[in-house]
């Protein structure tokens, strides 16, 4: 590889042999004129590392025997990255061929913004459970048309940061966070007045969980992660609520209802056709929210993680 690279693509991976090939093919076949590098930080116990070594020798593979969280994995990738721009995607995402090109164009155009990112598309639209998962997680990042705008959060599946800005804020929070470490990082940046630019045409397709069991388990984790993240932040919607445990518990039956209504309304405004075609998406989504609420309550009363609240 050449000495000077413009852009480093960093992908955290854990037991992703099913999706990693499609992901790497899309990342390596970019219409991008300038040199870029691809870094994978892998702590899998399955066949993923051998698969990468055999099929994509050009990729820089960083192995960890112990399992590392996605935030830590991304930080490990950044530690060896040489590009001016750090682009992040996930091992279960497939990006569009002009993904890097558009990211870098925006970075050049808006020198003052810290991050550029875009919407997440559902990568496996044939599955009902996958749509429910998509609805639950990415309803704020629908690939609607529109202008570039300044947002509060961009998911780590489809985002790029300027290297020097990323370094200044010390990277993603570590493994003590179950989920949403990207949200906490976004909040840190926003709190310091940085701009996160959301561009609707920069798209990455995310393959969601298709097994109901996995989906529910994931929702439980997200519920836990939400409490953790809100505890460490201030000024976000709900961050005062989680500091008052009793009040939050009393409000708990209401939260899934609010979340359900808001997400469904957003989704309906974007693509009502999908919901009409698969009406069962909504009950699945509602079921997931029950698990989400369970995770929320679990973390709310979990004594081990109380101390995390002081971390900032």
């Amino acid at each position: 590889m050449s000495d000077k690279v413009r852009c480093s693509v960093i992908i955290p991976s854990y037991n992703s042999e099913a999706t990693i090939v499609a992901c790497l093919e899309s990342v390596l076949n970019q219409d991008f004129a300038e040199p870029y590098e691809v870094i994978i930080v892998d702590s899998s116990t399955d066949n993923t590392p051998t698969l990468i070594e055999q099929r994509f020798p050009i990729v820089r593979l960083i192995r960890r025997e112990q399992r590392v969280g996605s935030g830590t994995a991304r930080n490990l990738g950044v530690a060896v990255a040489r590009g001016d721009i750090l682009a992040f995607t996930d091992s279960d995402c497939v990006v569009e061929p002009d993904w890097l090109q558009k990211m870098c164009e925006r970075h050049d155009q808006f020198l003052d913004c810290a991050a550029v990112g875009g919407p997440i598309v559902n990568g496996n639209p044939e599955s009902l459970v996958s749509w429910a998962g998509y609805l639950a997680e990415f309803n704020q990042f629908l690939p609607k048309d529109g202008n570039c705008r300044d947002v509060d959060h961009i998911p780590a599946g489809n985002v790029s940061y300027k290297h020097h800005v990323f370094g200044h804020y010390g990277g993603f929070p570590g493994d003590e966070f179950i989920k949403h470490e990207d949200m906490l990082f976004s909040w840190r940046l926003r709190n310091a007045g940085e701009k996160l630019l959301y561009h609707p045409t920069i798209r990455a397709a995310h393959c969601h969980r298709t097994k109901l069991n996995d989906y529910l388990h994931h929702q439980f984790n997200i519920g836990q992660g939400t409490v953790q993240t809100l505890r460490c932040t201030s000024g976000l919607r709900g961050s005062t609520l989680v500091r008052h445990r009793v009040l939050a518990t009393l409000m708990l039956p209401l939260l899934p209802v609010i979340k359900f209504t808001r997400s469904t309304a957003r989704f309906l405004a974007w693509q009502p056709v999908i919901l009409l075609k698969h009406p069962l998406i909504l009950p699945t989504f509602a079921l997931g929210l029950l698990w989400w609420a369970a995770g929320f309550a679990n973390m709310l009363w979990n004594a081990d993680h109380q101390s995390l609240g002081n971390l900032e």
């Binding site: 003052d112 913004c113 800005v165 310091a192």
Partner: protein, 337 residues
């Protein structure tokens, strides 16, 4: 990299022009960042700022000192350049700052603020500002009472010295620069670093600001020992100052009260006189009188501070209406004294 920090409190009339001039700076865009700190504004300032490609930071702590500290906290540059929201910068502003600070022997630099508006009071205020600067640079080549209207400092030095003291709602810049000066840092005055400053045009506003500056100036003076006090506040060695403000004196509240009352009445009368004479246009004599009133305000502020220090409750006092708007600030200050 340079971080430009602009504290904003209810500046919806000026902020757009200010940011416009900052974005128009003749300086590489990737080597500077603009941080606008919203100090809990209640008007449309926040909305206006968000429309510009600048970093928007919020703080609820009161006072420009808190806003500037917050800006310094999130800044990424190694030089902090402060400018007020009611200023317009010249295109070469940042370049001049860089040139001055490229000399490692200079720790901080204070620029010159030109007056822009045509109101007579603003013009007078500007004249007094210029007189103040002239006196300042006559004594030695370093500045000890810098104004943050346009001011630049190295970030590590700023943080190592603890930044601005947030208990100072006014005159925090004076306090900070005196602190630096007494620690033998070098602050220089560079007239080539110029901004256009929109001075306040309402006489009452100028008077009140000056009074509060006096109040906090006394607080600064009290924070230092006798030697430094006489060095930075030579007026404290004058006989009447010694009589009124010396700590060794017994609590002579009667004299203080009488002085404060006299000054208060005098300032109110002179404001009325000034407003009336304004239409007649005796410029030069008007200026002298303005200057005298201005000095009286400063003394009045100090007297109030002394009264506060002696445990007087201003809330019930006779000068209540004069400081109505700033009563909270003053009460807050008295709690800390």
């Amino acid at each position: 990299m340079i971080s430009i920090i602009v504290p904003v409190f209810n500046e919806q009339e000026h902020i757009a022009d200010c940011l416009g001039s900052l974005l128009n700076l003749d300086y590489p865009v990737h080597q500077r960042e603009i941080i606008v700190v919203d100090n809990n504004s209640t008007d449309d300032s926040a909305k206006i700022i968000k429309g510009y490609p600048v970093r928007y930071v919020f703080t609820a702590r009161p006072g420009a000192a808190a806003a500037r500290n917050r800006g310094a906290e999130v800044a990424r540059g190694d030089i902090l350049a402060f400018v007020d929201a009611d200023c317009l910068v010249y295109e070469n502003w940042l370049e001049e700052i860089c040139t001055v600070l490229s000399d490692p022997g200079i720790d901080a630099v204070m620029g010159f603020a030109e007056g822009t508006n045509g109101s007579l009071w603003a013009e007078f205020r500007q004249k007094l500002y210029e007189v103040g600067i002239k006196e300042e640079i006559q004594q030695e080549d370093t500045v000890h009472k810098a104004a943050t209207t346009t001011f630049a400092i190295r970030r590590d030095l700023f943080l190592a010295n603890g930044g601005f003291d947030e208990s100072f709602l006014r005159a925090h810049d004076t306090e900070f620069s005196i602190r630096l000066h007494s620690r033998r840092y070098r602050i220089v005055f560079a007239p080539q670093i110029r901004v256009k400053h929109i001075n306040p045009v309402i006489l009452q506003e100028i008077i009140e600001t000056r009074t509060l500056q006096g109040l906090f100036a006394y607080k600064i003076a009290r924070m230092h020992n006798d030697i430094l006090q006489q060095r930075y506040f030579p007026e404290f060695s004058r006989w009447y100052y010694r009589y009124i403000f010396s700590e060794n004196r017994r609590r002579d509240l009667l004299v203080l009260n009488a002085l404060a009352l006299f000054l208060h009445r005098f300032i109110r009368i002179s404001v009325a006189v000034l407003e009336n004479l304004y239409s007649l246009g005796f410029r030069q004599s008007l200026f002298s009188f303005f200057r005298f009133t201005f000095d009286c305000c400063f003394l009045y502020g100090k007297t109030l501070a002394r009264l506060l220090e002696q445990g007087c409750h201003l809330r019930s006092s006779i000068w209540h209406p004069f400081l109505r708007q700033h009563l909270e600030e003053v009460a807050d200050c008295s709690a800390k004294m």
